[in-house]
Protein backbone atom coordinates (compact mmCIF):
# COMPACT_ATOMS: atom_id res chain seq x y z
CA UNK A 1 0.00 0.00 0.00
CA UNK A 2 1.36 3.42 -0.79
CA UNK A 3 2.48 5.58 2.05
CA UNK A 4 -0.10 8.15 2.97
CA UNK A 5 0.54 11.58 4.28
CA UNK A 6 -0.80 12.30 7.72
CA UNK A 7 -4.40 13.43 7.51
CA UNK A 8 -3.93 16.23 10.01
CA UNK A 9 -6.63 17.58 12.23
CA UNK A 10 -9.98 17.72 10.54
CA UNK A 11 -11.45 21.09 9.83
CA UNK A 12 -14.82 22.11 8.45
CA UNK A 13 -15.08 22.84 4.75
CA UNK A 14 -17.93 24.01 2.57
CA UNK A 15 -19.14 22.24 -0.53
CA UNK A 16 -21.69 23.27 -3.12
CA UNK A 17 -24.54 20.94 -3.96
CA UNK A 18 -24.21 20.14 -7.68
CA UNK A 19 -26.82 17.38 -7.96
CA UNK A 20 -29.51 15.61 -5.97
CA UNK A 21 -31.22 12.34 -6.76
CA UNK A 22 -34.16 10.65 -5.11
CA UNK A 23 -33.11 7.02 -4.52
CA UNK A 24 -36.23 5.81 -2.69
CA UNK A 25 -39.16 7.49 -0.93
CA UNK A 26 -36.90 8.06 2.09
CA UNK A 27 -33.36 8.16 0.68
CA UNK A 28 -31.80 11.00 -1.24
CA UNK A 29 -28.35 11.28 -2.79
CA UNK A 30 -26.58 14.64 -2.60
CA UNK A 31 -23.54 15.31 -4.75
CA UNK A 32 -21.16 18.03 -3.58
CA UNK A 33 -18.29 19.79 -5.27
CA UNK A 34 -15.53 20.12 -2.66
CA UNK A 35 -12.64 22.30 -3.89
CA UNK A 36 -10.38 21.43 -0.94
CA UNK A 37 -11.23 17.72 -0.73
CA UNK A 38 -8.13 15.66 0.07
CA UNK A 39 -9.53 12.44 -1.40
CA UNK A 40 -11.16 9.52 0.33
CA UNK A 41 -11.26 5.74 0.39
CA UNK A 42 -14.34 3.57 -0.07
CA UNK A 43 -16.14 3.08 3.24
CA UNK A 44 -15.24 6.41 4.82
CA UNK A 45 -17.75 8.94 6.09
CA UNK A 46 -18.10 12.65 6.74
CA UNK A 47 -19.63 14.71 9.52
CA UNK A 48 -22.20 17.24 8.31
CA UNK A 49 -22.87 20.34 10.41
CA UNK A 50 -25.96 22.50 10.20
CA UNK A 51 -26.08 25.88 11.88
CA UNK A 52 -29.40 27.51 12.71
CA UNK A 53 -29.91 31.26 12.60
CA UNK A 54 -29.66 31.42 16.40
CA UNK A 55 -26.27 29.67 16.27
CA UNK A 56 -27.53 26.24 17.35
CA UNK A 57 -25.48 23.55 15.64
CA UNK A 58 -26.20 19.88 14.96
CA UNK A 59 -23.73 17.37 13.56
CA UNK A 60 -24.38 13.95 12.06
CA UNK A 61 -22.22 11.37 10.32
CA UNK A 62 -23.05 10.24 6.78
CA UNK A 63 -21.32 7.63 4.70
CA UNK A 64 -19.82 8.52 1.35
CA UNK A 65 -21.57 6.65 -1.48
CA UNK A 66 -19.32 7.68 -4.35
CA UNK A 67 -16.00 6.01 -5.18
CA UNK A 68 -12.67 7.81 -4.81
CA UNK A 69 -12.45 7.90 -8.59
CA UNK A 70 -15.16 10.62 -8.75
CA UNK A 71 -13.44 13.12 -6.47
CA UNK A 72 -13.42 16.08 -6.00
CA UNK A 73 -17.10 15.33 -6.28
CA UNK A 74 -18.47 13.44 -3.31
CA UNK A 75 -21.92 11.92 -3.07
CA UNK A 76 -23.68 11.24 0.23
CA UNK A 77 -26.88 9.23 0.47
CA UNK A 78 -29.09 10.32 3.34
CA UNK A 79 -32.07 8.48 4.75
CA UNK A 80 -34.82 10.71 6.04
CA UNK A 81 -35.66 10.15 9.69
CA UNK A 82 -38.93 11.89 10.52
CA UNK A 83 -37.80 12.96 14.00
CA UNK A 84 -34.27 13.77 12.87
CA UNK A 85 -32.68 17.17 13.41
CA UNK A 86 -30.54 17.01 10.28
CA UNK A 87 -31.77 14.48 7.75
CA UNK A 88 -35.16 16.11 6.91
CA UNK A 89 -33.31 19.29 5.97
CA UNK A 90 -30.88 17.37 3.77
CA UNK A 91 -33.57 15.32 2.01
CA UNK A 92 -36.35 17.93 1.75
CA UNK A 93 -34.87 21.42 1.80
CA UNK A 94 -31.40 21.28 0.28
CA UNK A 95 -31.23 22.41 -3.36
CA UNK A 96 -28.62 22.47 -6.11
CA UNK A 97 -26.46 25.54 -5.55
CA UNK A 98 -26.81 25.46 -1.76
CA UNK A 99 -23.70 25.21 0.40
CA UNK A 100 -23.17 22.49 2.97
CA UNK A 101 -20.60 22.39 5.75
CA UNK A 102 -18.77 19.13 6.40
CA UNK A 103 -15.52 17.61 7.61
CA UNK A 104 -13.84 14.46 6.39
CA UNK A 105 -12.97 11.99 5.14
CA UNK A 106 -13.19 10.12 8.44
CA UNK A 107 -12.22 6.55 9.22
CA UNK A 108 -9.57 4.11 8.05
CA UNK A 109 -11.08 1.09 9.78
CA UNK A 110 -14.23 0.45 7.77
CA UNK A 111 -12.45 0.78 4.43
CA UNK A 112 -11.99 -1.53 1.48
CA UNK A 113 -9.88 -0.89 -1.56
CA UNK A 114 -9.20 -3.27 -4.43
CA UNK A 115 -5.59 -3.82 -3.38
CA UNK A 116 -6.83 -5.48 -0.16
CA UNK A 117 -8.23 -8.39 -2.22
CA UNK A 118 -10.89 -10.80 -1.03
CA UNK A 119 -13.02 -12.72 -1.38
CA UNK A 120 -15.28 -9.98 -0.18
CA UNK A 121 -18.54 -10.30 1.71
CA UNK A 122 -20.69 -7.20 2.13
CA UNK A 123 -23.75 -7.31 4.39
CA UNK A 124 -26.08 -4.32 4.35
CA UNK A 125 -29.19 -3.44 6.34
CA UNK A 126 -31.28 -0.59 4.92
CA UNK A 127 -29.22 2.54 4.37
CA UNK A 128 -26.21 0.56 5.59
CA UNK A 129 -25.73 -0.12 1.89
CA UNK A 130 -24.22 3.35 1.40
CA UNK A 131 -20.54 2.77 2.36
CA UNK A 132 -20.69 -0.70 0.81
CA UNK A 133 -21.92 0.89 -2.43
CA UNK A 134 -18.81 3.07 -2.42
CA UNK A 135 -16.79 -0.16 -2.24
CA UNK A 136 -18.74 -1.75 -5.11
CA UNK A 137 -18.44 1.41 -7.22
CA UNK A 138 -14.71 1.59 -6.49
CA UNK A 139 -14.36 -2.11 -7.38
CA UNK A 140 -16.14 -1.48 -10.70
CA UNK A 141 -14.25 1.75 -11.42
CA UNK A 142 -10.84 0.06 -11.19
CA UNK A 143 -11.98 -3.11 -12.98
CA UNK A 144 -11.30 -5.31 -9.95
CA UNK A 145 -12.15 -9.01 -10.30
CA UNK A 146 -12.15 -9.69 -6.55
CA UNK A 147 -14.90 -12.26 -5.94
CA UNK A 148 -17.64 -10.36 -4.12
CA UNK A 149 -21.01 -11.16 -2.61
CA UNK A 150 -23.48 -8.60 -1.31
CA UNK A 151 -26.32 -9.62 0.99
CA UNK A 152 -28.70 -6.67 1.29
CA UNK A 153 -31.68 -6.55 3.62
CA UNK A 154 -34.49 -4.07 2.90
CA UNK A 155 -38.03 -3.78 4.14
CA UNK A 156 -39.62 -3.90 0.70
CA UNK A 157 -38.72 -3.81 -3.00
CA UNK A 158 -39.39 -0.06 -3.12
CA UNK A 159 -36.99 0.48 -0.21
CA UNK A 160 -33.98 -1.00 -2.04
CA UNK A 161 -31.51 1.86 -2.47
CA UNK A 162 -29.48 1.79 -5.76
CA UNK A 163 -31.72 -1.07 -6.98
CA UNK A 164 -31.21 -0.55 -10.71
CA UNK A 165 -27.48 0.10 -10.43
CA UNK A 166 -26.99 -3.01 -8.30
CA UNK A 167 -28.86 -5.05 -10.90
CA UNK A 168 -26.67 -3.68 -13.68
CA UNK A 169 -23.47 -4.34 -11.75
CA UNK A 170 -24.63 -7.86 -10.90
CA UNK A 171 -25.50 -8.69 -14.51
CA UNK A 172 -22.33 -7.23 -15.98
CA UNK A 173 -19.91 -8.96 -13.61
CA UNK A 174 -19.42 -12.71 -13.23
CA UNK A 175 -17.43 -12.18 -10.04
CA UNK A 176 -20.16 -10.22 -8.27
CA UNK A 177 -23.27 -11.73 -6.77
CA UNK A 178 -26.04 -9.59 -5.28
CA UNK A 179 -28.57 -11.30 -3.00
CA UNK A 180 -31.53 -9.45 -1.53
CA UNK A 181 -33.76 -10.21 1.39
CA UNK A 182 -37.03 -8.32 1.85
CA UNK A 183 -38.18 -8.47 5.43
CA UNK A 184 -41.70 -7.03 5.31
CA UNK A 185 -43.27 -7.04 1.87
CA UNK A 186 -42.26 -9.00 -1.22
CA UNK A 187 -43.49 -8.43 -4.77
CA UNK A 188 -45.24 -11.32 -6.56
CA UNK A 189 -42.77 -13.88 -7.89
CA UNK A 190 -39.98 -12.77 -5.51
CA UNK A 191 -37.33 -15.52 -5.45
CA UNK A 192 -34.67 -14.07 -3.12
CA UNK A 193 -34.97 -14.27 0.67
CA UNK A 194 -37.94 -12.88 2.58
CA UNK A 195 -36.91 -12.81 6.23
CA UNK A 196 -34.46 -11.07 8.52
CA UNK A 197 -30.84 -12.04 8.19
CA UNK A 198 -29.93 -15.08 10.28
CA UNK A 199 -27.19 -17.68 10.59
CA UNK A 200 -28.77 -20.05 8.04
CA UNK A 201 -28.96 -17.28 5.44
CA UNK A 202 -25.35 -16.29 6.02
CA UNK A 203 -24.28 -19.94 5.84
CA UNK A 204 -25.80 -20.05 2.34
CA UNK A 205 -24.56 -16.68 1.10
CA UNK A 206 -21.25 -16.06 2.87
CA UNK A 207 -17.96 -17.51 1.67
CA UNK A 208 -16.80 -20.60 3.59
CA UNK A 209 -14.60 -19.57 6.51
CA UNK A 210 -11.63 -21.51 5.08
CA UNK A 211 -11.53 -19.00 2.21
CA UNK A 212 -10.79 -16.26 4.77
CA UNK A 213 -13.02 -13.59 3.27
CA UNK A 214 -12.92 -9.93 4.20
CA UNK A 215 -16.30 -9.03 5.68
CA UNK A 216 -18.01 -5.66 6.07
CA UNK A 217 -21.34 -5.23 7.83
CA UNK A 218 -23.23 -1.95 7.97
CA UNK A 219 -26.71 -1.26 9.29
CA UNK A 220 -28.67 -0.51 12.43
CA UNK A 221 -26.98 -1.72 15.64
CA UNK A 222 -29.16 -4.86 16.21
CA UNK A 223 -28.76 -5.87 12.55
CA UNK A 224 -24.97 -5.51 12.71
CA UNK A 225 -24.71 -7.42 15.97
CA UNK A 226 -26.86 -10.28 14.65
CA UNK A 227 -24.90 -10.55 11.41
CA UNK A 228 -21.50 -10.35 13.11
CA UNK A 229 -22.43 -12.95 15.74
CA UNK A 230 -23.72 -15.27 13.00
CA UNK A 231 -20.50 -14.99 11.03
CA UNK A 232 -18.47 -15.79 14.16
CA UNK A 233 -20.77 -18.79 14.78
CA UNK A 234 -19.98 -19.94 11.25
CA UNK A 235 -16.29 -19.99 12.10
CA UNK A 236 -15.13 -16.66 10.69
CA UNK A 237 -12.30 -14.81 12.39
CA UNK A 238 -13.67 -11.80 14.31
CA UNK A 239 -10.66 -9.75 13.20
CA UNK A 240 -11.77 -10.05 9.54
CA UNK A 241 -15.29 -8.78 10.30
CA UNK A 242 -15.51 -4.99 10.14
CA UNK A 243 -18.69 -3.34 11.33
CA UNK A 244 -20.28 0.07 11.15
CA UNK A 245 -23.42 0.69 13.14
CA UNK A 246 -25.92 3.46 13.07
CA UNK A 247 -28.56 3.99 15.69
CA UNK A 248 -32.19 5.00 15.22
CA UNK A 249 -31.25 8.64 15.65
CA UNK A 250 -27.65 8.31 14.59
CA UNK A 251 -28.47 8.99 10.96
CA UNK A 252 -25.14 7.49 9.89
Amino acid sequence: MERRTLPGRLTWQRGEVVATEQETARAQSITLALPTWMGHRAGQHVDVRLTAEDGYQAERSYSIASPPEEQPRVTLTVERLDDGEVSPYLTDELRVGDKLELRGPIGGYFVWEASMGGPLLLVAGGSGIVPLMAMLRHRAAVGSTVATRLLYSSRSYADIIYRDELERLDEADQMLEVVHTLTRVQPPGWTDYHRRIDTDMLREVAWPSDQHPLMYICGPTPFVETAAASLVTLGHEPARIKTERFGPTGEA
Binding site: R245, F246, G250
Partner: protein, 88 residues
Protein backbone atom coordinates in the same frame (compact mmCIF):
# COMPACT_ATOMS: atom_id res chain seq x y z
CA UNK B 1 -31.40 12.71 26.08
CA UNK B 2 -31.60 9.29 24.50
CA UNK B 3 -28.46 7.20 24.52
CA UNK B 4 -27.46 6.12 21.09
CA UNK B 5 -25.11 3.17 20.68
CA UNK B 6 -22.90 3.40 17.62
CA UNK B 7 -19.32 2.41 17.12
CA UNK B 8 -16.00 4.14 17.35
CA UNK B 9 -16.27 5.20 13.70
CA UNK B 10 -18.96 7.67 14.75
CA UNK B 11 -16.67 9.25 17.37
CA UNK B 12 -13.76 9.55 14.94
CA UNK B 13 -14.75 12.94 13.51
CA UNK B 14 -14.63 14.60 16.91
CA UNK B 15 -11.41 12.83 17.91
CA UNK B 16 -9.80 13.73 14.62
CA UNK B 17 -10.69 17.36 15.17
CA UNK B 18 -8.38 17.12 18.21
CA UNK B 19 -5.68 14.66 17.12
CA UNK B 20 -3.97 14.98 13.70
CA UNK B 21 -4.25 11.25 13.02
CA UNK B 22 -6.66 8.79 11.49
CA UNK B 23 -8.34 7.78 14.73
CA UNK B 24 -10.38 4.65 13.87
CA UNK B 25 -7.18 2.62 13.49
CA UNK B 26 -5.66 3.91 16.73
CA UNK B 27 -5.22 1.05 19.22
CA UNK B 28 -6.45 1.61 22.77
CA UNK B 29 -5.48 -0.65 25.66
CA UNK B 30 -8.29 -0.79 28.20
CA UNK B 31 -7.37 0.10 31.76
CA UNK B 32 -10.15 -2.21 32.95
CA UNK B 33 -9.49 -5.54 31.24
CA UNK B 34 -6.17 -4.97 29.45
CA UNK B 35 -7.39 -5.87 25.97
CA UNK B 36 -6.31 -3.76 23.00
CA UNK B 37 -8.81 -2.75 20.33
CA UNK B 38 -8.93 -0.42 17.37
CA UNK B 39 -11.10 2.59 18.20
CA UNK B 40 -13.17 1.76 15.11
CA UNK B 41 -14.13 -1.51 16.77
CA UNK B 42 -15.20 0.03 20.08
CA UNK B 43 -18.71 0.95 21.11
CA UNK B 44 -19.53 4.65 21.12
CA UNK B 45 -22.47 6.24 22.86
CA UNK B 46 -23.53 9.64 21.59
CA UNK B 47 -25.23 11.85 24.14
CA UNK B 48 -26.34 15.43 23.89
CA UNK B 49 -23.46 16.27 26.21
CA UNK B 50 -20.82 14.42 24.23
CA UNK B 51 -19.51 11.02 23.30
CA UNK B 52 -18.40 8.05 25.38
CA UNK B 53 -16.19 5.38 23.82
CA UNK B 54 -16.39 2.07 25.65
CA UNK B 55 -14.29 -1.10 25.59
CA UNK B 56 -16.04 -3.70 23.39
CA UNK B 57 -14.92 -6.48 25.77
CA UNK B 58 -15.65 -5.20 29.30
CA UNK B 59 -17.62 -1.95 28.73
CA UNK B 60 -15.14 0.24 30.61
CA UNK B 61 -15.34 3.91 29.61
CA UNK B 62 -12.20 4.42 27.55
CA UNK B 63 -12.68 7.99 26.41
CA UNK B 64 -15.20 10.68 27.19
CA UNK B 65 -15.16 13.72 24.99
CA UNK B 66 -17.34 16.79 25.03
CA UNK B 67 -17.15 19.99 23.03
CA UNK B 68 -18.57 22.89 25.00
CA UNK B 69 -18.28 26.58 24.16
CA UNK B 70 -15.18 26.23 22.03
CA UNK B 71 -13.37 23.91 24.43
CA UNK B 72 -12.81 20.18 24.22
CA UNK B 73 -13.04 18.16 27.42
CA UNK B 74 -11.26 14.85 27.07
CA UNK B 75 -11.34 12.26 29.88
CA UNK B 76 -9.14 9.30 28.99
CA UNK B 77 -8.75 7.59 32.35
CA UNK B 78 -9.98 4.29 30.86
CA UNK B 79 -7.10 4.09 28.41
CA UNK B 80 -3.85 2.60 29.65
CA UNK B 81 -1.98 3.02 26.37
CA UNK B 82 -2.94 4.68 23.11
CA UNK B 83 -0.97 3.45 20.09
CA UNK B 84 -1.04 5.87 17.19
CA UNK B 85 0.44 4.99 13.84
CA UNK B 86 2.40 7.96 12.51
CA UNK B 87 2.25 6.47 9.01
CA UNK B 88 -1.52 6.16 8.70
Amino acid sequence: MMENKLDGNAAAGTLQAIFPFEMTLVQATCAGCGTTNALGATAAYMHGMGTIVRCPVCDTELIRVAHVKGRYFLDMRGVRVLQISAEA
